[in-house]
Symmetry: C2
Subunit: 363 residues, 2 copies
Amino acid sequence: MNEMKTEKNNTRAPGIKDVAREANVSISTVSHVLNGTKAVSEPLRKRVMEAVNELNYQVDPIGRSLKSGRSHSVAVLFPSITSVFFPPLLKSLQKSADQAGYSLTVHSTSGKLEKEKAQVQALTAQRIDGIFVSSCANSHDKKAQDYIQTLKGLHNNGHRIPVICLESALDSALDSVVVNDEQGSEQAVEHLIQLGRKNIAYIAAPQSYAMGRARTRGYVSALKKADIAFRKQYIAEGDYTPLSGYQCMQELLSRDISIDAVAAGNDQMAIGAMRALQEAGRKIPEDVAIFGYNDNFPASLVRPALSTIHVPKEEMGTFAFDLFLRRLRNTDATPSKIQLTGEMILRGSTDPGIETDWILESW
Amino acid sequence: MNEMKTEKNNTRAPGIKDVAREANVSISTVSHVLNGTKAVSEPLRKRVMEAVNELNYQVDPIGRSLKSGRSHSVAVLFPSITSVFFPPLLKSLQKSADQAGYSLTVHSTSGKLEKEKAQVQALTAQRIDGIFVSSCANSHDKKAQDYIQTLKGLHNNGHRIPVICLESALDSALDSVVVNDEQGSEQAVEHLIQLGRKNIAYIAAPQSYAMGRARTRGYVSALKKADIAFRKQYIAEGDYTPLSGYQCMQELLSRDISIDAVAAGNDQMAIGAMRALQEAGRKIPEDVAIFGYNDNFPASLVRPALSTIHVPKEEMGTFAFDLFLRRLRNTDATPSKIQLTGEMILRGSTDPGIETDWILESW
DNA sequence: CTGAAAGCGCTAACAT
DNA sequence: ATGTTAGCGCTTTCAG
């Protein structure tokens, strides 16, 4: 049964020196043709490539990394592995990475700063070439400052590791691609106002984060523009999850106020709120109109379908990767903050006439 | 502006020799206390640990991998980054990996065998310690045989790399954790029959894969047990996506047959089918009852909520990681095929009386 | 129980 | 244009 103990597979993977021997050149020549690091005469180059194919040689990324400090791979860090927001973003990052010849690994921080820090440290040690991060750090928090400084100075073998912020810009010295949260939120609430709603509640995303605050600002400013008084008891704060939206809505309904519309900081909370409204016997949108944010696919599944602000997740990925490539070329480029604008998508949760579209992408 | 060109951060990360110098011992001693590879006297051990803390030393995983052939990390490969099936599974794998001190990277194969092969090769080169794969290889396909053989013989530095199959067992020589697809599917169809439905259509998952075939077998066998004739025109084959379910249902409706129930190979296709039925003016479940498979969260969102077979994704992850750890300890253990059984979840798409539950997990 | 030394596979000065 | 060689940071025989 164990007679195959010799199955340590005597055929070790060929190394660069095997190629060198086979092609009858020096290993540095092989390295140079492989990496295009230096000019090599055509005949030699050809011999080397033949040997490479002959032996089916693949460069060992570990050996390479040890020496070069690079890994040809980039990483994405995001808070929740179960969130429907990230897959479309990941998909486009993946696509860009593939095209550029980078491999892409994805890592969940579980929304914990400690874990995020640890991941960054581990990735750095692995000679990662770039990091895309939807950080769970709150840039207003003193305790996050050290971490943000670290991010700005990440380096390997004396070269910087580009860090690209997704969704929120941690620091003006870091490249980032974000969406115009305040404007999108304002637009949503303005639409509710145009529908004639005056008692508009708001289920906010966590206010400890810039994104949550920005979206809330949009709500406030839309009210102000319409000369509607801001009333504190019309606001509840959730934690992004549908359950929290459900609970916030119950809480709002239990207050002694009348509500004819609700805007939420994301689709998940809006959908949770819809459930609470329906349980309370409120007709959507007749009694209460409701607006989400992000346009994740469930928004098109629920009945009525959820009006929301479409966040261009695919574009975020594409832009983010371009920023990375740019920084690779020019370490000293001034940091870019690419701000994408969301698009208002109207569906049945606000406008009864509108026929419900159907998000065809695979999920 | 560039006066900080010297910012290649003169403080290189401390290496093992820095620790050795600081502790006044040899580097091999440091290595041994760090890895517990050999007994080291208490005083020395202590001096080493102090130096480690003093310098805030972290072992370099690349240096370590180069020599040891291990990386303390495992990888998950799955076909679709946008599928709602995987996040819960990933989450539990992540949890197990964290507990065991392994880092976990996730990689999408986009459902392409070529890409899957390439990923496996790249991971092997990176000294990955284990691979969890929901493969897109069809074990009945001649062309996949080579790949499956490769998987069975994956190795690094003379030690095997455990491969754990998820969802489908690629080969009896590989550890795997799967669900009893045939039985679950049979149970679902039996329920439809008990409801008095006789004209039950089936929207199959791809028949080129074992999973799709198994689920279809369950449908066929439930009909047989109930003495209902199997009729070919009651079957359509989708590709997992909601859109394909939608199209299959349209196709079925266009055939000259009467349908009072539909079972589908997964929830996505079932939900697509629901949309087609609703557009065709069929009442669910009164006119047509419908059954899904997997119990992904959207099943609880749609109206009516979708009856389905709950696949224990969290358990899959836990079992899978345990299999990995076991094989690490004993390379020669006989391969395990852990077969979990799905649980039938009845909702409004089949049973009008049942109140719709609400999947609270975060998405 | 401890340490010296030989590489792991590769890149990049530095020679030639 | 090509080759020689010194490591990258670590693990692991092999001596002492």
